[in-house]
Each structure stands twice: as C-alpha cells, then as structure tokens.
Amino acid sequence: MSEATPSSHQARRVRTAWLFLSPMLIGLAVVAVWPLARTVYYAFTDASLTAPGDYAFIGAENFAVQDGGYWYGLLADPLWWTSVWNTLVFAAGSVAIEVVLGVILALVMNAAFPGRALFRAAVLIPWAIPTVVSAKMWAWMLHDQFGVVNHTLMTLGLIAEPVAWLANPDLTLLSVILVDAWKTTPFVALLVLASLQMLPKDCYEAARVDGVHPIKVFFGVTLPLIRPALTVAVIFRLLDALRVFDVVYIMTGNAESTMTMSVYARQQLVDFQDVGYGSAASTLLFMVIAFLTALYLTAVKADVVREGR
C-alpha cells in the first residue's frame, strides 16, 4: 500500500478487476456467446429439427448456391428481402413515432398539474401489458366486422365502410407499427422523463428572464440537454424493433406483407424444421442489426463531435 511499484500495483488492480468481472463474463459466455456461436455454426450445415443430431457441412449453400442456372439460398430468396424491407420500415416507422410521442408525453408528465401521479401511472399501462395479450387485444379491436375501432370510426363518420386493418396488404404493416408505437411510447417517455427531471433549472430561469418563446426553449435548451437520454432510448428501441416478432406474428401470422426477419427465421426453423437455413437467416438477422447499430452509433458520435466544435 505504501511503496509498491506502480506497475505491480497496476497488475494487481487488473487481476482483481478480471476476478470481479469473471462471473459476468462466464454468464455471458454461457447464455449469449455459446448460443450465438452454435447458430452461426448451424448456418453452414443442413441440420433439420426432425433429427437434430444428424447433419453435414454444406459450406455457404444456405446463403447462396448456383445450381442448374438458378441461384438458391437466402440471398436469392425474394421473401427474405421482403422481410428485410418490412423490418426496416417497421423499425424506422415505429421508432420515429415513439420518439416524437414519447418526448411530448414526457414533457406533459414533467409539467406540474393536478392528477399528475395518476397520469404517470396510466401512461405506463400499455408498457406493462404483455405484448402477446395487447397484440391479441388489438387484433380483436381492429377486426373488420366486429372490431371496436371500425365501429367507432364509422359512428364518427370518418369512414364509410369497415376497413380491413389486418387484411388489406397496404394497411397491415401500418396497423402493426401503430400498435407497437402504442405499446412502447411509454418506455421512451419514461427514459426522457428521467432525464428531464435532472436538467439544471438555471437555463430555464435565464430563458424566462429573457422572455424566450417556449418552443424555442425546447429546441434550444431542452432537446440538446436530453439528447444523451434520447440516444439511449433510440438504441434500445431500434434493437428491439429490428428483431420484432411477437406483435407481428400474433396480429398477422406468417403473412408476407408484414413478415419480418424474425418471423421469416421462425418459419424456416419451426414450420419447415430447417435448422440450417433458419440459422443462416438468424445469423444474417444478427449481422443486419449489428451493422445498423454500428451505423447509428457512428452517426451519433460524428454528430456529437461536430456539435462539440
């Protein structure tokens, strides 16, 4: 403690750090790294769920292979690209709506008004309901013949005849996006609210003294200050949205107009029992998410650096 050389002191600290980290690392290796490695491994085999132990290596054939003038495999499957596109539209749409509505909700919850505690609790309800339950509920509410949504809209005279929200291929993806936004906006709102409550009061007092318009205050003061929280919220939501499965599968099943990458992978793995091909799809799904997250983080970082100058 007194005169130990800096290097040995440093080495001991590093050792201790590893010691403390090891349970976490072992845990991660068991629950994350190992399954991921197995999935990547299976992606290069022809394994089937009917006989999971009996498989052979087929190289990259699950991804792309040419045979008799035709290309086969994941990269040649138009349905895979449809599902990639659907996933991207879903992620972009739902996250954009959630961030905008989430910030507005957080601002409302942050203001002092009677019944605020009750309001805050009520806002969290969608987030608290399990997705399976809320998605099924929405599927019934959006039912074209006896759904309450059509009934209400028709009573109000907004639509002339029932709309098939979950059957019209032009509307299904939109419906699913809106239901997801309904469910996860509270999550974004909560993260933003937490950061709003930690903002320094002096900026606002200065703005008030100078008589700055509230909207200008929001864009000039609040938004830059809550940016770190928003970045985190968007990453969480983006990761979540890119691997979306439950809300889509429950509301529209395997329909192609809403099929996401996860639904595609599940269909291959479970319905078709094709562990090899399904693992290949899961591996690509993982890579797409990793790539997009990296892209987003780089963009945010570049933005922060530019702002900093």
């Binding site: 769920l49 009917t50 006989a51 999971p52 045979d67 008799g68 035709y70 086969y72 349905l79 039912h143 074209d144 013949q145 006896f146 029932p162 098939a164 979950l166 059957a167 019209n168 291929p169 529209t252 099943g253 395997n254 329909a255 192609e256 107009s257 269909q267 479970v270 319905d271 078709f272 029992q273």
Partner: protein, 428 residues
C-alpha cells in the same frame, strides 16, 4: 440443511401421492396427457370422452390445450417432439401430419393388432407410413358450403350448383338486404388468412374447376394451368365484392363468427360448424342449410378438401400401453357415434353413415356423400416432409392474388417455378 429437509418432504409427499393413486387405480400408474383442439366444441367433447375412460380405468388424464391454428399446433408438436419431450402422450394430429411427425410416433399395431379395423380404408392408408399405423382416425372432414336458407328463400334462390350461381345469389341478396337496412351483411365468408386453412380453401376452388391438386400423383408440379388460374381469379374477384376484405385474416372461427352472428349469406367451413350454427344460442338457428361446395363451371365437379383429425401416441410417452388404450377408446365406434349425434363430427366408420340415429341428428350427412367420395387430398403423401413448404408457398401465392398484389397467372407461374426448384433440389 434446509434444502435436504425440503427435498425430503417433497419425496415423502410424492411417495404418499403415488400410493394414493396406486391404491385407487387398478394399474399403479401416474397419469397421461392428451392434446385436444379447441375449435368449436372439440375441447368439451374431448374432456367428456377422456373423463369416461378415466372413470373406467382409474388413470388420471391431463388435457393439454393447443393453439387453434393448425399451423401453430404442428409447430408446437414439432418443438416438443424434436426435444424428445414426454409432455404430451397422445397427440391430436391433422390428416396431413403422419408423414411429417412419423419418426416420433409409435406403431399402433405393435400394441393392438386390431387397431384401425373398421375405419375408412383411405384414412387408414393415409395414416400408414412405411407399413406402420401411426394414427387412428378420430373424425373426418371435408369443406362444405353453409347457406342461409331463410335469405335464399326470401330472394328466390336455390342453393348454388356452381360458383357463378353462388356469386350472383350472394351479390343480389347482399344488395337487396343492404338496401333494406342490413348494412353489415356480406355474401360469402371463408378462410383467407395466410395459413393451412387457405391451402384447403384454395385447393377446393382449383379442384372444382378441374385444375388438379397442386402436385400430380407422379410428383410433377401441375398448379400452373388455365383452370387453376380461373379458379384463383374468381376467388380474388369476390374480395371486396361479396366477401369482406377482412377475410384475408380469417380462420375457421373468424368466418363462423361472421356467419353465425347472421352477417353472411354463405360460408365455406368444415362440418363442425353445423351443430354450432344450429345450437340453442345461435341467432341463425333453423335458418341454415348445408350443401356440397359448388362446381367450377358446367364441367367442374363438387369437391371438398379432405381434412380430419387423428390420434397418435408419442414415442417418448412413458406409458405407451395406456396411451394406446385411450386412443383406441376415443376413436371407437361408440364414441364416434356420440360425437356425430351431439356435435356433427363426421365418423370414420362407414357403417355409421347408415345409422338411423346419426342421420336423424345430421340430415345433411347423406346429401354430402358426393363430397366425401370426391374429396381432394392435399399432396402430403406425395411431397412427404416438404409438405409444409409446399403448402406455405401455395397459400402465400394465393394470398398475394387475393390481396391484389399480383395477378393469378404470374403468381401461379412463379409458384410452379419455385415448387420445381424445391422438388429438384429436395427429394419429394
């Protein structure tokens, strides 16, 4: 220390529970589990039958409920069976599944040489894979057409002989009833969701036009032909006209929901819907008729996709003897007769079709003879374990046409192409 005590208590508890059951039942057995569907009154019927057997044998049976969608139910079974799980001893399996689940099922004749005697030969042949009888027929099914007899009579229509007659009748009745204020009435509801049910419906349209199955008996892909295109085009023309657009997300129960609440003139469904539509709480009780599905034009034929459910015993069951015994009991002639009378489930014993009690309860059984003799089978026997893919590609292609994203011609040409690829690379 505390842990030992707890596990000791648990062991003692389990022991005493074991002796209790052992004392109760003739055979010192723990319990069985059976999966039953829950479409319509399936679950209640299953409970009643199982209860009867339990009383007789003293063996406790747990009923596992499974998803209504057959596609999802198969997925659940496959997951459990691939893990060699013994969660379910007796599985309720669809008529197209024996080929898919075969490796996980026991040969029933190894337990009872007489198993399968007396049933329709075709069903036993369907359930026999590599000389092993893998499932016992429980009830058989074929798609039929339900109609509102009161509305047809009121507007002067006969039950339709051809699809175009149906279209015309539906359109006229809908227009006149709507003009009279019934804004919620539609002409024709069916199963249009992207799942196995759509494969059944679409196969009926195609077959009624003489467009064949999806795959020929020799394995050649036959779906891309003018009759099939005409059939799918006809169905696509219904959507938004006599059929609500929402049908693209309807399964059997959703279609029945619309028809039974009085909001549709015609419905394509399985025979199970008869007893429910005629139930005491049904708003359309006494106003329903059933006929064979219409022909596709003058040269077409009445048809219906062969469906039906069977009971199979898992290879991973801990009590296969008792499981087989329960399966035999539930599929016995006496049980099937009860089910036919109480809930119009079609028996799998030919002699029950001339049974006076059965016919009294289900007058339409006799008139559907043509449907049952002409029923079209899904190509599961030909394409084997590729069936799920074939069916999925078929329903996806049809769903795309129904939703208006694609024309029938290019869609079926694309389907032919991809099925050819699937079969050339695989070994159908």
């Amino acid at each position: 220390m505390a842990r030992t005590t707890i596990s000791g208590t648990l062991a003692a508890f389990a022991l005493s529970a074991g002796t209790l059951i052992g004392a109760q039942g003739a055979l010192a057995q723990s319990s069985l589990s059976i999966s039953c569907g829950a479409v319509g009154v399936e679950l209640e019927l299953c409970k009643a039958g199982v209860e009867e057997w339990s009383q007789k044998t003293g063996v406790e049976v747990e009923i596992v409920s499974t998803p209504n969608s057959s596609t999802e139910r198969l997925a659940l079974y496959q997951q459990i069976l691939a893990a060699q799980g013994d969660d379910i001893d007796i599985l309720q399996v669809d008529v197209v599944w024996p080929g898919i689940l075969g490796p996980h099922l026991v040969d029933l004749r190894a337990y009872d040489e007489q198993a399968g005697a007396g049933h329709f030969e075709a069903l036993i042949a369907n359930n026999t894979v590599d000389g092993k009888l893998l499932a016992l027929p429980w009830w058989t099914d074929a798609g039929v057409l339900y109609y509102r007899s009161d509305l047809l009579e009121k507007h002067g229509f006969e039950p339709p002989e051809t699809w175009s007659q149906l279209t015309e009748a539906a359109r006229t009745i809908m227009a006149e009833e709507r003009a009279a204020g019934d804004d919620d009435l539609w002409g024709f509801v069916w199963q249009g969701k992207a799942y196995e049910g759509l494969t059944c419906d679409a196969l009926e349209w195609v077959d009624s036009f003489g467009g064949g199955g999806i795959v020929g008996a020799d394995g050649a892909v036959t779906i891309n032909n003018p009759q099939a295109i005409a059939a799918i085009e006809m169905a696509a023309s219904w959507v938004g006209d006599i059929t609500p657009e929402g049908v693209l997300n309807y399964d059997e129960e959703a279609a029945r929901g619309v028809f039974q609440s009085g909001n549709a003139v015609f419905m394509r469904n399985w025979p199970y819907a008869w007893a429910l539509a005629q139930g005491d709480d049904s708003p359309i009780k006494g106003k329903v008729g059933v006929v064979a599905l219409p022909r596709g034009g003058e040269n077409g034929s009445h048809t219906g996709t062969l469906g039906g459910w069977n009971l199979a015993v898992s290879k991973y069951s801990k009590n296969p003897e008792q499981a087989v015994d329960l399966a035999l009991f539930l599929t016995s002639k006496a049980q099937q007769k009860q089910r036919a009378i109480s809930s119009s489930y079609n028996p799998t014993y030919p002699d029950l079709y001339s049974d006076a009690d059965v016919l009294a309860a289900n007058p339409f059984f006799g008139t559907l003879e043509e449907t049952f003799t002409n029923a079209v089978a899904r190509p599961s026997a030909i394409v084997g374990d590729k069936y799920n893919r074939v069916s999925s590609q078929f329903w996806s292609a049809v769903h795309g046409v129904l939703g208006g994203q694609e024309e029938a011609g290019p869609a079926l040409a694309g389907l032919e192409n991809s099925l050819n690829r699937l079969s050339r690379r695989g070994r159908w």
